[in-house]
Structures are given as structure tokens and as C-alpha cells.
Symmetry: C2
Subunit: 361 residues, 2 copies
């Protein structure tokens, strides 16, 4: 391609709205690391100028940002699969918004893009790290949930590790969340018996009525023994697959019910993210080891980043099912960036109903 053509293309895509350099953006930073459950004091709202895009970069005005349990891990300064947010740094989050300035031919103003813009009203990022979102396919905030990282996590884990077969029984915690609800729906479509676990009658009703689970157990007020009894009643043939989002008494109830050759996929453990312990958390390793050997269980840690090469497959398979309503999703929308900390604290306590997003702009 002659240089002139590239230049013209560049100029064409470079059309952009005028950014007034005195425009300000808001962001929420990690004020201090939490001890146990996060509190307001751990967060601080800051203002700064809206950035301008460097070479190959775009600036996005965020419309929706995602709140997810994994963010609790980023607040701690310990070994994990990702670096912690530094104190004073912007809290990490995936977000979707409208491109307001672009220095890359991949995006033009008015396009929608998903990126890791953090807890902020605006973000700047290299265009090549952003995913274009088409508002005509589905509401843009689905790129944060059912068609984003959580939905993909569920799909990637189930397709890579579950070895699910019709007639088997699957249990999943946080059943009405964006991961759990996808896990359960994929399993139902494959002909499994699906039992959810969730906090409260309203979520349990949603798991069955909206997402089509066979049953859903309210974990509130139940210790591991009570969970085991409740699960045993709903899983007369035992448990073949446990998709682990929660840890805690749910896990404690599941372990003794695992069948020969059961699969446990560890995606998260929200009950333990703030350093809580309980009877199950302190179960001796020796006991688990014996279960794993006797029942020849497979236990598999899952992180969606290991599977990103299949994200396109996911969108091609699941996108149309979301559009057609074959796969359902539920959203819980918090209003305004300044309310993100409270919404996040509520998420860790299970107060949201469906995928929690913050409407930012």
C-alpha cells in the first residue's frame, strides 16, 4: 500500500471531537489496603484532566463499568495471579464506553470500546488492547457480563474442564451471578441436572425461574453440615461437577457428595476473599487428599486469561443465544461512579441480584 493511502486512512480515522483540556474526569483510587472487608476509608475519589490520546491510543468516555469479586484480590498486597493495585492507584475494572478521541485507525469517535479503564469516568488506552463493541448486537453493558469476562470465564471453564455429560449433576454457587448463571445454563442445555446455591429466597427464585435451574439452595444460615443435607436432598445421584465460585460452607457440603471421577473447577471463593475462615476453610488438607484419591477427583484452577484465544469462539457461539433469549442474563445497575465503593462492598456481601455494573456516564 503506498504511503499516501495509509496517510489518508489515518487522517480519516483520526477525526475526533475536540477535547477541551480543562475537562476533568473522576476516578476512584485505592486509598489504603483493607483489613478484612473493605470500607469507605479504603477508597478515595479524585479528579484530574481528561487525558489526550498518544500515538495509537484512544480516549473513552465510560458508560458502564464492571464490579466483580476478583477486585477484592487486587486490593491485597500478596502473591496472586495478577499484580495488586498500588495504594493511590486507580481501582481496576473492565468498562465500556464511547470513543471520544482516537489516534488509531481501528477506532473512530462514536465507536464503543471495552477496555480495562478502571473505576473512572474516562480512560485512555492503546487501541490494540481494546475490543470494539457493537451496540446493535446487544446492550453495550453485556460486554461486562454475559458476553464479557464473567460469561467467558464460565464458558471457558465448562468447555475446557467440565467434561459434562447429559444426566450428570452440576452444582454451582453464586448461581445468579454472571458466572454462575452462565455455568448453569450451559449445563442445562447439555442435559445435566443443575442445582444452584445462592443467598436468599429472591436469588433462589431467579435461579429457577429466570435461569432454568432444577433447584437452588439458600445458603444463608447454613453451615457445612446443613448445606450437605440440603444438597443431598437435591442431588440424589451425587455431584459430578462442582463449579466453585464461593468456598465456605457450600464447598464443605459439596465435598462429601462428590461422585467417582467428579470434577471441581475452582473459579473463585468469594466467601474467603476478605480473609474469613470457617469450618470448611480449615478442613485439613489430608482429608481432601483422601477424597481426591478415593474418588479420583479432578480439581482444576480456572482463570479466563489462559483461554483468551477462544474468546472469538465464545462470542460466535453464545452471542446469538443471548440475542435470541436462549441464554438469559440479569443486571443490577448502580448509578454513578461515586457509588461504586458501596456497590462493591454490597457485592462482596451478595447484595446484588444479577451482574453488577455501575452506570458511569
Amino acid at each position: 500500500m503506498p504511503l499516501g493511502t495509509a496517510d489518508r486512512a489515518y487522517n480519516l480515522w483520526c477525526e475526533q471531537e475536540e477535547i477541551n483540556m480543562t475537562d476533568t474526569m473522576k476516578r476512584i483510587v485505592l486509598a489504603e489496603r483493607p483489613k478484612g472487608s473493605p470500607t469507605d476509608a479504603n477508597f478515595r475519589l479524585e479528579e484530574s484532566a481528561v487525558p489526550t490520546p498518544g500515538e495509537g491510543e484512544v480516549v473513552v468516555a465510560v458508560k458502564y463499568m464492571s464490579l466483580d469479586p476478583y477486585m477484592r484480590g487486587r486490593m491485597d498486597d500478596g502473591p496472586s495471579y495478577a499484580a495488586p493495585v498500588p495504594v493511590g492507584g486507580t481501582m481496576e475494572a473492565g468498562a465500556v464506553g464511547e470513543v471520544i478521541a482516537s489516534n488509531d485507525p481501528k477506532f473512530k469517535p462514536g465507536d464503543h470500546a471495552f477496555g480495562m479503564f478502571g473505576w473512572a469516568t474516562h480512560g485512555v488506552a492503546a487501541a490494540k488492547g481494546l475490543r470494539k463493541v457493537n451496540p446493535d448486537d446487544a446492550p453495550i453493558q453485556t460486554s461486562l457480563g454475559v458476553l464479557g469476562m464473567p460469561g467467558f470465564t464460565a464458558w471457558a471453564g465448562m468447555t475446557a474442564y467440565s467434561k459434562m455429560k447429559a444426566g450428570e449433576t452440576l452444582v454451582v454457587g453464586a448461581a445468579t451471578g454472571p458466572v454462575g448463571s452462565m455455568v448453569g445454563q450451559l449445563a442445562k442445555q447439555a442435559g445435566l441436572r443443575v442445582i444452584g446455591v445462592a443467598g436468599g429466597a429472591e436469588k433462589c427464585r431467579m435461579a429457577v425461574e429466570t435461569f432454568g435451574f432444577d433447584a437452588c439452595i439458600d445458603h444463608r444460615g447454613k453451615d457445612a453440615k446443613a448445606m450437605r443435607e440440603a444438597l443431598a436432598a437435591e442431588c440424589p445421584d451425587g455431584i459430578d461437577i462442582y463449579f466453585e465460585n464461593v468456598g465456605g460452607p457450600t464447598l464443605g457440603g459439596v465435598i462429601p457428595l462428590l461422585n467417582l471421577h467428579a470434577r471441581v473447577i475452582i473459579c473463585g471463593m468469594i466467601a474467603w476473599y476478605s480473609g474469613e475462615s470457617d469450618e470448611t476453610g480449615s478442613m485439613p488438607l489430608q482429608k481432601l487428599w483422601r477424597y481426591a484419591l478415593v474418588k479420583r477427583i479432578t480439581i482444576q484452577g480456572l482463570l479466563q486469561t489462559d483461554h483468551v484465544s477462544r474468546f472469538g469462539d465464545f462470542l460466535r457461539e453464545v452471542g446469538p443465544k443471548v440475542a435470541s433469549g436462549e441464554i438469559k442474563y440479569a443486571e443490577d445497575v448502580a448509578e454513578g461512579l461515586e457509588n461504586a465503593p458501596q456497590a462493591f462492598m454490597g457485592l462482596l456481601k451478595g447484595k446484588n441480584l444479577g451482574k453488577l455494573v455501575v452506570k458511569v456516564g
Copy 2:
């Protein structure tokens, strides 16, 4: 085939030595269930008449019987992957011997057969459940070790679950035992760095000099922290595969060194078979769960019975390598059935060097 031909064949194979019905056999029964480590009082030697074969059965005079750690599990009356030995019942064991009477065309007197004849000088069993052993291929007692259940366990676990790749690092405990030595040799042949763990300088020397391990760590006197330090020194690139035979401080040392996407294959946990606990055994489940998620570890229980359909493949692949000396094995022979209990107690304490068998007849 006309009946006459089958009848003739039957008569031909039915030739047998005369069994004198007053001939007696010896067997060792479970006198009482052990509390913790087994003692002499848990075993009792009994005599009875040598059995005669029923329809389709053969009688074998045992030459060698196997002693393996799994037998400790059979002495307890708890849930496991196999039923316990009843009190008063013959202790379970694989054994190989000479057919002395046959009511089945598959075997004739003088043939050698492997079967689950137990701790006994003679056994009777249905011919269809027995495996013919050819003394010209390899010494018959290899059917109890390198070419029997332990060797097959190692091969089945490694081929099914290890996903081993050249350049990776594997750690295996009970390194000079029939499972560990096969695991290590298979991994060496595939180009891995192989670090053994064993009890005592003599075993460690054998792991390196006989079996070709890159190094072997003496676990004696080491707690989990000391094991971790010793393992870290020999595994500069971390641990990709841990083949678990032992539990205890070895496991405690391994866990923090597991790499991203490491595989842990749980085959046994000899350090914990008699109800012992230790720092690693009481490690909180919560901690393991976090490692499994952060490092996306695969933990897989292994039992060879799940893989029996591949036993022929194993013999075809490994048999010639044993015959050629490409795969080495080591044997520790105890003399006489009456010494089996002492030899077994020694096995649980790691006193044997190589595969422990009892020369019975």
C-alpha cells in the same frame, strides 16, 4: 466347532498334577483391625486344605506375592475405593505362581499365572480373572512390580494425566519404590528434570545411580520448610509435575513451589496411611484452594483400575524396555509367607529398598 473337538481340547488342558487332598496350605488372615501402625497382633497364620478347582477354575502354588502400601487401607473399615478385608479374612495381595490344577483350557499345569491370591501359599481362582505370565519374557516376580500393578499405575498416571513436556521439572516421592522409580524413568526418557524424594542416603543414591534421576532428596528429619528449601535448591525453575505417593512434609514442601499450570497426580499418601498427621496434613483447605486458583493447578486422583483397558498397551511398550534394561527395576525379597507381616510393617516405615515381594514357595 463340533462338540467332540471342544471336549478333546478340554480334556487336553485338564491334565493336572494329582492334588493330595490332605495337602495343606498356609494363609495369613487379618486377626484384628490395627489402630495406627499395624503390629504382629493384627495378623494370624492359619492352615487349611489346598482347594480343588471348580468349573473354570485353576489352583496355583504361589511363588511370589506382592506387598504394597495400599494394603494398609484394606485393613481399615472405612469408605475407600475398595472393600476392606473382613476380620478373619485372608489379607489381600497380588501373587504369581505355578498352576498345579486347572479346570479351564486357558491354563495347564506348569503354566504361570498372576492373580489376587492373597497372603497365602496357594490360591484358587476363575481362570478368566488370571493373567498368564511367561517366565521367558522376564522373571515372574516382575509381574508384581515393574511389569505389574505398580509399574502400570505409574505408566497409566503419567500417560493419562501428566501432560509432561521436555524441559519441565517433575518431583516424585518414594522414588525408589516400584511406582516412583517408573514415574521418574518415564519422565527422564521424555526429557524432564526429575527430582526424587526418598528416605535415607542409600535410597537416594539408588534413585540417581540406578534409576537415573537428576537428584534425590533424603526426607528424613526434614519438616515441610526444610523440604521446601531442599526442593527449591534442586528445582530452580519450580515444579511442573508432582507425582504424589507420600503426603506429609514432602507435599508441604512441594506446594509452594508449584508452577503455573502444574499438575499434581495423587496416587498415594503413605506418610498418612496409619492415621498420622503433621503440619502439611493439617494445612487449611482454604490455603490449597488459593494455590490451586492462583496457579491454575490440576489435581488428579489416580487409581490404576480406571485404566485397565490399557494394560496390554503398557506391557507392549514397557515390557521390551525392561527386557533390554532401558527401564530398570529393583527388588527387595522377603523369604517365607510367615515373614510377610514383618516385611509389610517395614514397608510402611520405608525399610525396603526397591519393590518388596515375598518369596512364598
